[in-house]
Symmetry: none
Subunit: 221 residues, 4 copies
DNA sequence: AATGAATGAGATTTCATTCAT
DNA sequence: GATGAATGAAATCTCATTCAT
């Protein structure tokens, strides 16, 4: 079996090499500059051999997207087991997610903004009951739940809040990636602020008090 | 002059026809599947005639992007002059923005997720001082400012909050567009919730009270 | 008839306008950059109208070539009636030809290097008997004949010499046009030298005592 | 290594095939009628494969031009080492040059009449000092120098004479190529005459007593 | 396992030309 | 007389993919 094993291992290594090259091209030249020829020339093989390891271009793309998704997921699951107040943990979770996303920005966008149902199977989370199916959303919902513990909040409310926070974070990261001229300092500032805002988004029942200040301002009281 | 007028009108109609076809292709097949050939075959003309109305492919793309942007902007400016409490107005603003975006979903994404510096000139708003330069952000910041009136909030804080809300809204809309299986009802629910969340994001100094509940829960008090 | 006359005149003017524009494009952008569209945009008319005056692109080209040829020819015929020794006249003739060619360099090359039999009908002169048919060659042959007067030279020899001088001059002018970096001064130097060389080429029997005979004829001896 | 060798050889053959086809098109249809499509259909391959052997159209063109130039140059260098009187050698040189040019007439014209600075780098020779830089001109100048040996002739005069002879020869060959109806016999006659004329062009000081000096040198006197 | 050769389809763009108005 | 609209053909070039070796 050892011969077969080695063969398998080598095959896997080659597949990985191809995927890395492809990912690099996406990151460097953009998503739609990816071509089999470019991959081939990067790994210094002939284009034809690539078809020995993948059936077609789409298969390569999907693999990359999948990898990116798994990357993000592991970052999340890893960080949600931490100690501390739920607020702190939510902040950390958010920050971890943002950081991980920014490590492979183009891959992140490629995955998260992908419409193909194949990818959507992984990335969709707006539907009702998503908190039960999607691990990442479940983690997020858990955090929110803890923050709102003791208050009268339904699971549905928590789920929707999780969804909205997730979508907002996606938007925030997207903008950070797309606007390329932002300084590192500014970026840090914005991320700090965003994590705080996320906590506020998660504090569901806070409407009770704030209203006062509003009414005061309006002279109602 | 009527002859010239008619010609102008017809030319304008043809341009519009081309733009619509192009937008439709972007919607259907994705942004980088747009080709002059496809446009031509969709409008059932020869590819060459398209160059009679536009100088090149980029000109068509830019027109689409510009139209989308202007569309959104006019929706915003139109709605920010309304009466009512600042919270109500912010909600309305948000909702209007979402609705307008969803009217031309793919065009919206094509614009807002476009990295080209040409488009970024219009759509970027994360940089420091953006609230002074970008009309849309200015409107948003104004709303936030009113909501926080009487509290000790710096312009910088307001700007960042506006930026975060804007980015979050982008993310929310993006998800609504990308996840195509969401029912109209669910969508409505989510939008309602999102507008409320936005108000909470805008209420900067509300930390005062909520913290109590947190402390209570933790047994600190 | 006056109305028709005016129409004819106007039509002729328009044809001339088109030809000038075309010639200008050839001179400026090169021979194979000529296009109906370019002509049209230069005269600020629509491409279609050009077909009102010419049947097709080739007709325009041929007209230009013809004009260029006639231009050269008139320069020659004009200058061969001058007084002076035949050597001087030959020099002047040569110089005049060169100068005229250099006034419209691209047109000159376009005509003289054109292979189409239509153009060749005008420009060919290497065949036996050309000195009888081709006015320009006849003029040249006349000069040579005078230079060799009194010597035993056949008409055939004279014709061939004329042909060789003509071809050589073509080569010389061609190089002057093609090598664009030559200074005006160098050019002048070369032209001076060339005209002298042409005289030497024309002095057929000089092997015997060339200079003497020339001097004698001039009365120097 | 034989496999690789064979591949290389086949690749070289294919390149040659393409170049020949291209040259043939230039010959037949003219320089600016050359198109990748035409080449492909001539060799009965698909247009795309041509890009497997050449990067682009220009590369093909340049190869053709270069080949033509080198062809001519080797003809010259080969023939200038011959024995005999300088006059004989000059005649032979001239004739060899003409013959070689006429072997690939269109290629010759394509090279020699090409204005692109890339080609001009090879073919230009009218500038001052060209006799030092351009091998072909140097050879020619050498012949002239020998012919004028013992006379008071400056290097500058010799260079200019060489330049004028070269240009004249270009013109002569050009006409031979362009005028397609000339009989082989006539052509021979003209070439004979031209080579003699070239010797006369090269005999700079013959105004004094040319023949004598020549005779002297030849030991006739 | 790996490659070079080959292709068909398709991309953008330019052009000469026609035609109804 | 003049024009805008329209087209078909052709240009260069890139790409994903197949296949014999």
């Amino acid at each position: 079996m050892t011969i077969e094993d080695r063969r398998d291992r080598e095959k896997q290594q080659m597949k990985e090499l191809i995927l890395q090259a492809a990912a690099h091209i996406i990151v460097t030249d953009g998503y739609d500059m990816l071509s089999i020829r470019k991959i081939a020339s990067q790994i210094e093989y002939s284009p034809a051999i690539i078809y020995h390891y993948f059936n077609n271009k789409d298969e390569i793309l999907n693999q990359i997207l999948l990898q990116g998704y798994e990357n993000l997921m592991s970052a999340l699951t890893e960080s949600h087991t931490l100690a501390g107040s739920p607020e702190t943990r939510l902040k950390y979770l958010t920050r971890k997610y943002i950081d991980t996303a920014l490590e492979n920005p183009d891959q992140f966008l490629a995955v998260q903004l992908n419409k193909s149902s194949q990818v959507q199977n992984f990335t969709s989370y707006l539907f009702e009951g998503a908190a039960d199916e999607k691990p990442a959303l479940k983690i997020l919902a858990k955090s929110i739940e803890e923050i709102c513990a003791g208050q009268n909040v339904t699971d549905g409310e928590i789920e929707m809040t999780a969804q909205i926070i997730a979508a907002s974070t996606l938007g925030f990261i997207t903008k950070l990636i797309i606007e390329q001229d932002i300084s590192a300092q500014r970026r840090k500032q914005l991320i700090d602020r965003f994590t705080e805002t996320v906590v506020r988004m998660a504090s569901l029942k806070m409407e009770a008090q704030p209203i006062n200040s509003v009414m005061k301002r309006k002279g109602t009281i």
